[in-house]
Subunit: 212 residues, 2 copies
DNA sequence: CTGCTAAACGGACTACGGTCCGAATGTTAT
DNA sequence: ATAACATTCGGACCGTAGTCCGTTTAGCAG
């Protein structure tokens, strides 16, 4: 059930882990959760984290690579659960339901996820030039693309999936909710509207469908 | 033809400008363009800029507020031109053409714009928690929303416009082109496909259309 | 020309993410 | 137990965006 590791702090990955490394990893994760609880995700700095955990700053970066990596590690449990649900869970999110229903459910779940872990998700994205190439993002993209193809969308499903993914970007969703007071329900409804139109419509402007 | 100022370095805005301020503004803009020419947008740091222009760092931030503000100022000419074209220019981008055609043209133009000024546009967005509230972004959003309404889209045009805007996000577009080697033409084609489906389709899942 | 004042200046300072490398430590073979 | 070695540790160090405040100066009145 582990699936694609979002950003392994290398717990039991690959080879064995030295005992001090394991101890520090636990120390760091615990300190990170404490700090986030106390001051929010934005209040977590790598210096503070190192100090709180009682380790050197280098150790923090050795473990997690970057601040975004740390955030991903903190999210990995819930992220893995989410992945499990949309890949192997019960319909309509999981397999068994029509693709359109699965797409709708996917967006709704993702929106709920962002509402719950939004700060972390945003911090995990932040400043990475490769935020679209992170394993989890690639997986979502492929999932959406697969559903589009299954639903019979033939017009560049890869780019269409990119467009749909962009709609679910944490930063944008949070902005809509926090600044413009859009309810998550309204977001989900709009998402369903969007995917319905994308899936159920024959492309009008389609010239030569295949190019490269 | 000045339209909404993207991020005024306060050239002749409001009151008069002291002569040394005007001189330094010119110095800074010139130095900024030089540096970008030499080392790219990412190679422009505020320290280097200050040094190159021969002014203090404080002066740079006094003028432009932030790095993103500086980038917006650098873009303001071409941005204003773009705005002029889609608001008052000839069809199909400007008024006179059917909304769907205008939407398609809008995306295509925007994509071309990002291909040309992408680095700057990305830098202008970067790290602003309010990047969606910047005047230019608000204007694009309103424009798309207006076109959707004109085209008869009744299902939450505000959010639908947000989704469509997100597709045109510079960071995403550049990523697709640079990492995945998607051609701008393919991006434009996919955009047309998307807006066609959004506009031409009756909503399927629509329950009660109005809520809040 | 002189003096006054509000505005602009400038660069030291802070906070932060990230890097580096000599020192310390656990693991394993003997 | 000991020695050898790879791994990890730790914190000084760097580059960057952004702030602060004492100093300078443009513009103007007399």
């Amino acid at each position: 059930m582990s699936l694609i590791p979002i950003r392994s702090g290398s717990p039991p990955g690959g080879e064995t882990e030295r005992s001090d490394a394991a101890r520090n990893r636990e120390l760091l994760l615990r300190a990170a959760r404490e700090l986030i609880e106390e001051r929010g995700a934005d209040g977590l700095t790598m210096d503070r984290l190192a100090e709180r955990a009682g380790v050197g700053k280098g150790t923090v970066f050795r473990r997690f690579g970057s601040r975004a990596g740390l955030m991903m590690t903190l999210l990995s449990d819930s992220e893995a659960a989410f992945q499990g649900r949309f890949m192997f869970g019960p319909p309509p999110l999981g397999p068994g339901a029509p693709p359109l229903d699965r797409l709708g459910a996917f967006g709704a779940e993702r929106i709920a996820y962002v509402m719950e872990f939004g700060e972390l998700a945003r911090a995990a994205d932040a400043s990475a030039h490769n935020r679209f190439d992170v394993p989890a993002a690639v997986l979502w993209h492929r999932h959406i693309e697969m559903l589009l193809r299954t639903a019979g969308v033939t017009a560049d499903p890869w780019l269409m999936a990119m467009s749909l993914s962009s709609t679910l970007d944490p930063e944008r969703l949070l902005h809509a909710v926090r600044v413009h007071h859009v309810t998550p329900e309204r977001l989900a409804e709009s998402w369903r509207e969007l995917v319905t139109r994308v899936v159920s419509c024959p492309g009008g402007a389609a010239g030569p469908p295949e190019r490269a």
